[in-house]
């Protein structure tokens, strides 16, 4: 029996599993910050994909994928700041942190 050495597929499968778990958290978490945590997991899965393709792709020397991942991290910081501000605002105005309760603009 022989194992395949660690390659691109290993990282892609890890990223796919992390993404699926983030998606599950986004849909099922009832606390708005829990939804935010799921989004962070999904962004991290996407970053793993970017860096893994950069490492194993034909342009491994140029590190463009890592620059993309750094941009994603910066945008994730923006998203977390604005999202947390929105959640705090939601709590101040509606006294709830559950996304289901803030449904007055839904229909």
């Amino acid at each position: 029996m022989s194992l395949p050495p660690v390659g691109l597929a290993h990282y892609l499968i890890l990223a796919a599993l992390l993404f699926a778990m983030g998606l599950f958290a986004v849909i099922t978490r009832r606390h708005a910050i829990g939804v935010l945590l799921g989004i962070e997991l999904m962004l991290n899965a996407a970053n793993i994909n970017l860096v893994a393709f950069n490492r194993y792709g034909p342009l491994a020397e140029s590190a463009d994928g890592q620059v993309f991942a750094l941009m994603v991290i910066a945008l994730a910081a923006c998203e977390a700041a604005v999202g947390l501000a929105l959640i705090i605002r939601l709590y101040q105005t509606l006294a709830t942190v559950e996304p289901d309760d803030a449904a007055s603009m839904k229909w």
Binding site: V6, I13, L14, L18, F19, A20, T28, I33, V67, A76
Partner: protein, 207 residues
């Protein structure tokens, strides 16, 4: 000398990969199923550190440092801070009586069931690159990324700073409670205690 068909270096890489992948996945499970959001946020911290380990394995030294400093150090701590600000008996478990549970299982399960087997099938039939040669050293990685940021990606680099500034101002404007005209509705003046407006709370209960 080989073991399971792997050279010692490959074996070491395999062990490292299993370690960081295990940390990431187990911590992600904690993010999913921790009953309290505060615990889920702490699990997210460990998941982010696991992903940082993945970056280190992939030879992305700069990203490893940024992940630890910015993600685990700043974003996770900011989220934990917000949870502590908000957490007042608002937690309920994720599983009990959750009407989104079925949708979540279907969506995430469908994603995993479609993507993972298709990846495995791709590896079996076409084959993905399995070895990438030696990774860059720390100096090379820092040099390459710094150079890319100031040459090919300079426009994105400048724009991202504008985006950061805008989101910072937006977060301050959104989170500030005592805006003129609304101060009496949301915050009792003088107390500083963010009591919600009674009619808003009633609307939230009624809907």
């Amino acid at each position: 000398m080989t073991w399971l068909g792997l050279s010692p270096e490959q074996l070491l890489e395999y062990v490292g990969f299993l370690l960081v992948a295990g940390v990431s996945l187990v911590s992600a499970l904690g993010v999913l199923f921790a009953p309290r959001v505060l615990h889920a946020a702490v699990w997210l911290l460990f998941a982010l550190l696991g992903v940082a380990g993945v970056f280190a394995l992939l030879g992305a030294h700069v990203l490893f440092a940024v992940q630890v400093l910015v993600y685990a150090g700043a974003i996770a701590v900011m989220i934990i801070f917000a949870v502590v600000l908000l957490e007042r008996g608002t937690d309920r478990g994720i599983l009990a009586g959750n009407r989104h549970l079925f949708a979540g299982v279907v969506a995430a399960g469908a994603f995993a069931v479609v993507v993972v087997p298709s990846l495995v099938a791709t590896v079996v039939t076409v084959g993905l690159p399995a070895s990438a040669g030696p990774g860059p050293t720390v100096q090379e990685n820092v040099w390459v990324i710094g150079r890319l940021f100031l040459t090919r990606h300079i426009l994105a680099f400048e724009l991202i700073s504008v985006v950061l500034l805008v989101s910072m101002i937006g977060a301050i404007v959104l989170a500030r409670a005592d805006r003129r005209g609304e101060a009496e509705e949301t915050v009792a003046p003088g107390t500083g205690d963010p009591e919600p407006a009674p009619e808003a709370a009633e609307e939230a209960k009624a809907s």
